[in-house]
């Protein structure tokens, strides 16, 4: 079964008296354990599509089925629940809470899911170990490097065992070497059976995925499999 099934969705924003067609007519399916990159120049609608896929926003028209449930008909609370349990977000700017240490940042989605304190701790710990930060649990974000911060964010996305990981330019704020490490981590996560959707404008990053969807002017320009995937080597002892 498709995790995500989108049929003819459109999104129209009103800016003053002008209507902006961010998405015109997009249809696509994403299956379990796919690794998809969404590409496109700025203004192509890829951010809008990502917000839509992440249930942060609902389409103006068209059908979006998430695991068979229609997202357009959901209430705010239902959307919050879906985001909480089914989607793990990874952002370009990490978006960690500066006042919280790493483990508390990772625990946060579990708080909103109503998981007990002891279980939260345990799962957050495991998630941090999984991303290779077992020894950085009580560090605050400003005591961590960029790559480490992004790994905390990835641990936060993974901790709820979501159906999809949604990464928006996850290497945009990192140098190329650290970016490569993060991509290796994503590759590892994918191998474990997770579904990953990667939004990027860099060809080189997109080629880590198995499938690339190219957007232009609110329409899908191309939807193709990657012929020669970049599979980075996971160095060091990231994953114990």
């Amino acid at each position: 079964m498709n995790i995500i099934k989108i049929e003819h969705i459109a999104k129209i924003y009103k800016v003053g008296f002008e209507e902006v067609h961010a998405l015109r007519d997009v249809s696509l399916n994403i299956d379990k354990n796919e690794y998809v990159a969404i590409m496109g120049p700025s203004g192509s609608g890829k951010s809008t599509l990502m917000n839509m896929l992440g249930c942060l926003d609902t389409p103006t028209s068209g059908l979006y089925l998430f695991k068979g449930f229609s997202v357009s008909e959901m209430t705010d609370n239902q959307l919050a629940n879906i985001r909480n349990r089914e989607i793990g977000f990874v952002f370009q700017t990490f978006n960690l809470l500066a006042r919280y240490d790493a483990i508390h940042n990772v625990e946060l989605p579990l708080v909103y899911a109503g998981v007990s304190k002891a279980e939260r701790r345990e799962r957050a710990k495991q998630a941090l170990i999984d991303v290779g930060l077992g020894d950085r649990m009580s560090h605050k974000p400003n005591e961590l490097s960029g790559g480490q911060r992004q790994r905390v964010a990835i641990a936060r996305a993974l901790v709820t065992n979501p159906s999809i990981i949604l990464a928006d330019e996850p290497t945009g704020n990192l140098d190329s070497k650290t970016g490569e490490e993060i991509m290796a981590l994503f590759n590892e996560i994918h191998k474990k059976g997770n579904t990953i959707i990667l939004v990027t404008h860099e060809e080189y990053i997109a080629e880590h995925a198995a499938r690339i969807i190219r957007l232009k002017d609110g329409l899908i320009e191309k939807d193709e499999m990657v012929k020669k995937r970049l599979i980075p080597e996971l160095k060091e002892n990231f994953i114990q």
Binding site: N51, D76, A80, R83, N84, N95, R99, L108, Y112, R156
Partner: protein
């Protein structure tokens, strides 16, 4: 439900962290609530204290006592008409006493203002009451020591005195007053009784604590003759339920004593504490409303401060709100988070204000009686919490209904 509790706990932690990380800002904001709560509570304890004092004063004088007097306490008659009334005399009292049946006690009262001395110590402008042995039955006085004067002492115009508790403190700070000789207006008196504290500060010189009681015949002997001024007849009804009936009887009896015909107006007044209570209530009511309104304003200003700072806090944390929403926080989660923050600020400020109010109340208790009640403590806590919720609501609501996409994009 369980989720909500976790969210609540999380919200509380977030709130406390936010307050701690902005210490100076939080303290300045709290100051507004602190001052507001402190003045509101101090005001209410002072009002309560004054009220208690008045009520105990009233009851020490007896709530079922009627006063037959030349003068009216509350009247709309012209002053000169009342002034031209005949004085009530001690003979009229005797006649009156023979005729009335309903009252439990009837006593003639007159007074004079004198200086009271014991050796080198003195108290000026003391109300010296003169009456007979029945007087004590018209009051609810209790004794710290000794007794009231007897009928024999009263009829024989003995030089004996009962002193109020304040007078006793001033004249006899360290010694037993009983059987000591004091000077009232230059005449020697033996102290035979000391009243227990009646605690009616608000009555001022009429407070029994500040008075001296001697036989009426002794007043006539030492200070002025029988016809010098009018006396008051204190009449005690047999319980509050009998007041109206007793009032009707004594009015009839007094008209008879005065020999008034049916078409003549009363040339005397019957006063009662109800009138005193009413005028007190209206005065205190105004003080209460004005006081609470003015002090309430300072709380209101404090609340505006909270609202202002909460709007700033929401704006500052737009991105955080966006992230929280993206990872699954619901509207009510965000709402409660910010409500908890404003309530926590208000509660801490309010508790500090409450402590300050208690200290202030204890300090001014020496001048104005204050009474710290559990309900003013609860009032302080609930007022500060309510202020937090009300002033935090608009900012919290703004945060709760933020669009997560917009919020995440905010720099």
């Amino acid at each position: 439900m369980r989720i909500f509790l976790y969210e609540l706990k999380e919200g509380l932690i977030i709130a406390l962290r936010a307050i701690i990380s902005n210490k100076i800002r939080a303290i300045l904001t709290m100051l507004g609530i602190f001052i507001g709560v402190a003045v509101v509570i101090t005001m209410s304890t002072a009002i309560k204290g004054i009220d208690n004092s008045f009520q105990s004063g009233i009851s020490s004088l007896g709530t079922d006592v009627l006063y037959v007097d030349k003068w009216a306490w509350f009247t709309n008659q012209e002053w000169w008409k009342i002034r031209n009334r005949k004085n009530i005399t001690i003979d009229e009292y005797s006649e009156f006493k023979e005729l009335v049946k309903l009252p439990v006690a009837v006593a003639p009262v007159t007074n004079t203002i004198q200086t009271v001395k014991y050796n080198e110590r003195r108290v000026d402008n003391v109300f010296v009451n003169g009456s007979n042995a029945d007087y004590i039955k018209t009051t609810n006085f209790t004794f710290a020591q000794g007794r009231f004067y007897s009928e024999i002492e009263s009829n024989a115009a003995r030089q004996v005195a009962i002193i109020g508790s304040e007078i006793a403190k001033k004249l006899f700070p360290n010694i037993d007053p009983i059987d000591r000789i004091i000077k009232i207006g230059g005449f020697n008196y033996k102290v035979i009784g000391v009243l227990a504290e009646q605690g009616s500060f608000i009555l001022g010189p009429w407070n029994p604590d500040n008075q001296v009681y001697i036989p009426i015949e002794t007043i006539f002997k030492n200070f002025f003759n029988r016809s010098f001024k009018t006396i008051t007849i204190n009449v005690r009804a047999n319980g509050p339920a009998m007041i109206d009936e007793t009032k009707a009887e004594i009015e009839g009896v007094m008209r008879k004593v005065r020999g008034l015909t049916y078409d003549q107006e009363n040339d005397f007044s019957i006063n009662q504490q109800e009138g005193l209570q009413q005028s007190y209530d209206s005065v205190v009511g105004v003080i209460q409303i004005a006081g609470l309104f003015i002090t309430g304003l300072s709380l209101f200003v404090g609340a505006i401060g909270i609202m202002n700072i909460m709007f700033v806090s929401v704006k500052e944390r737009t991105k955080e709100i966006g992230l929280r929403k993206a990872i699954g926080a619901k509207r009510r989660t965000i709402l409660s988070q910010f409500l908890l923050e404003s309530s926590a600020i208000c509660l801490v400020g309010g508790l500090a204000g409450l402590i300050a109010a208690v200290i202030i109340s204890l300090l001014i208790n020496q001048y104005v009686p204050t009474s710290i009640q559990i309900d003013s403590v609860l009032l302080g806590i609930s007022v500060s919490l309510l202020t937090g919720v009300i002033s935090g609501f608009a900012p919290a609501y703004t945060a709760a209904k933020m669009d997560p996409v917009e919020a995440l994009r905010y720099e």
